[in-house]
Symmetry: D4
Subunit: 147 residues, 8 copies
């Protein structure tokens, strides 16, 4: 059996690459998916349907186009990893976590200890909280490979 | 028909009271519900089941107890209003919005214009974005009362 | 038991009043709901959240506000009556019918014989096709009252 | 991952071919499905089960046979593109859109600007509105291929 | 709490009255519902929408009108009692049982011992098989009233 | 795309072989499944778990074992064909049809004209009624192969 | 709003009465439901449908009759309390917990500390673990009454 | 078609190997999955995310990590076999059975005769009760291979 893992959240550090690298080094049967992580491309996702002058509607249009991808890929995933960095609001990450909770999709949160209080509702429904990418890899290795 | 409205999110200003007051002044048939908004009580929700020394587990336990209430009330609501203030992370509000999106529960966001970019995914699936409590009241009045 | 009937579609003739009148004359335990049928108010439903200069976004915003009402009321209905008149596109009526079909909500179509070919997919999943409001009343009387 | 795209609606222009051609030129991993687009064959779909003299029942029978295909293929699709042309009622296209909205299936509408008002409820729940087949191809390329 | 019991199947004996009488004598909080049991009225349910010359379509039309009632009432029921008599095919009763099985609605079958082999698939998913109306009453009394 | 067709019902004539043969001759991409059609084996399905002296429980046990197969295969099917012959009660066929109706699985009925009245509820929710195996093959060919 | 609480599990101590008493003393708007807790009556629930000589089938029959009640009441409950005592296997309590977990029904476990290891999977999906009936009452009071 | 069988429950005897061996000897197209059956590894599943001093939280954390695997694999399974041994509480096995019952996943129980009374609720919703691994193999062979 192959596992499908969706990587949600923060796009300013290389945590996705770290997890992919670690999983690859263990030769686990995993296919990774993700939202578009090119920030500029993601913000401009709706522009191909016509430019908007109003910033709310530009964002709205782009978010919906991105939603075609994210909703589809989250629904297809076996497990979602949700990363919260130390900067920015990252409400989309919490939004994805709530979406997962509602449809019973298992998710793992990945964040530092100093934001555990702010993330308590998100962590309460997660099946694991990891502090490092290495821990996520270890959990995936255990879940997929252990006898 | 009576409407059940759940008020989610920020607990440091009186937006809930403003909405309840406005709805009452229009005599709309609405019952409001909400998470526990007493911050200290909410953080201590798990303490009655035994004190915890580890802050992660204290938060975890309290969040789960709060979840008995929030999950039940969100499921019963006809509409959810999700408020984002200008302080704090408020990931729980985004989490509730994601939960609503996943189960097809209509929700309205309430927040200032300066955070529209950070909230674009949350707003993209909302059925309305309001900037003031008065607007929420107007929307509810229209939705419930207009012929 | 009380029945909840949602009346969807055309807003330029008095078919809703005819059905309500007929049901009332038979003293059937029915509560009727509907989208907002005041055309101008419906088109302006989003204006209370701020005026839009772009007509697409004005429509978009108003449709979403109307969706808070229509989605909620259709979900609560026991039966939906979908009316197609001889003018206008009325895609929203067909949209409501498709929504009902997908969630297994029984619906009755109400339209003249000259448009049966164009409505064949909509009628194929309806549980009844009526040509007059009187027929809808008769069907409701039978469904609710017959022993 | 391969994507499954269902093309719904208007059958009098070559928009389907344009999209398929465009997607092919980008070598995207897409499988397209559709209702039967041969108009005469579609109208006669029920005739193989016995001829009908009454046109309502002939339509009814054919629509149901077509439903075996359309319902199955829409359920299997990842994304649905719904095309509205400038002629005919095309209630079946709006019906498909409503069906998609109800089951949370992402859909893109494709139509000219002059019918945005009539389609406002259909567009309000779409994840994108395109005016040309090229735009649909661009959106699909972005959704499927962007990093 | 009040219980809602749907009585499905055979319409040629007075088993419904027996159950209602028995339940009433125990003063159980039960509301009974049922398909239309007036055979002639049920067969003619579609006639009010226009006469049909073809008997298949007359039956089809009437069955659909009856479906508005039966589908709604089965969905609302807490328990369904499905009665198979010793005459006629009663495929509609087995159809209702299959419907209940699929949506996880508890049902009780009521039939004589000599048809247990033919009904084995229907009984296998029932939560009880009763041979007499008295037994159904006893089961309901136990389920509703026992401490 | 490959289609998965479940063949339900009567086991005393060779209608399954006729359909499989016809489908094969058209080289349609179809995989067929079915309940166990060896009557004796099916009745004895529970015997391997220990003999029963009571015939109700023997039937019960066998039906449940058969249910492991039938429930799984019906859920996986794209289309179900339900055959009613002129002998026996065949309540299991009607039960399967009701199951399909409840989960929105498209099904085709296959039976002679002389039992249309008894099967009216079953046919009312079917997407096609065929009188011969050839017609079923034609419908499948159209649904799967038509452009 | 009134809350519906289902009390599942151990029937040999008076924990149900303690909870009901405590809730009553706080005048909380709660309606309690439960399986039949009269052990002898529960074991004999199927006897009214005919005596069985085989103990497996007697149990089977009674469990199914009890299932009419338990499944219905668990589905209707807002919260389920699952009690594990220090004697007996109580697999039915763990079964109810698994059922709740699968349908997203919030549940609270009630058991002593010495069985936490054996109950770790059951507790992992519970929203609270209480060691005393008083704690359950406190949690309910908080969940229902706190502002 | 390939079948996916999840083996749940007791980990102290070699029943899993017996079933896998038997299925292999019949060359059935089956893929088996299971929770981690290495007891020590399973208990320590959460340790890789940081050691816990409190035994409740260590168990909690490990159970959740195990849940990523078990929930995913049970959802993907066609059939679940649930084994109860003669030692230990094995509440997790009953929990899995309840989970299966709630989502309509067919399951087979495997246990000795002396615990049938304690397991009556679990067995009542199972589709088969086997006493030996050989019987499970026979049932799978019949379900998968019989014509």
């Amino acid at each position: 059996m192959s596992w499908n893992i969706y990587l949600s959240g923060e796009i300013h550090t290389d945590w996705r690459e770290q997890i992919m690298q670690g999983v690859k080094s263990h030769q686990l049967p995993v296919e990774f998916t993700s939202a578009v992580t090119n920030h500029a491309a993601s913000d401009a996702a709706g522009d191909m349907l016509g430019e908007e002058t109003n910033s709310f509607w530009r964002d709205h249009k782009s978010s919906k186009v991105n939603g075609i991808r994210t909703r589809t890929l989250i629904e297809k995933a076996d497990v979602v990893v949700v990363r919260f960095g130390d900067k920015y609001k990252q409400w989309n990450a919490a939004f994805d976590a709530g979406y997962c909770a509602a449809i019973g999709k298992p998710y793992i949160t990945l964040h530092d200890e100093d934001i555990i209080h702010a993330l308590k509702e998100v962590d309460a429904q997660a099946l694991a909280w990891a502090q490092t990418s290495e821990q996520v890899v270890e959990v995936l290795k255990y879940v997929i490979d252990e006898k």
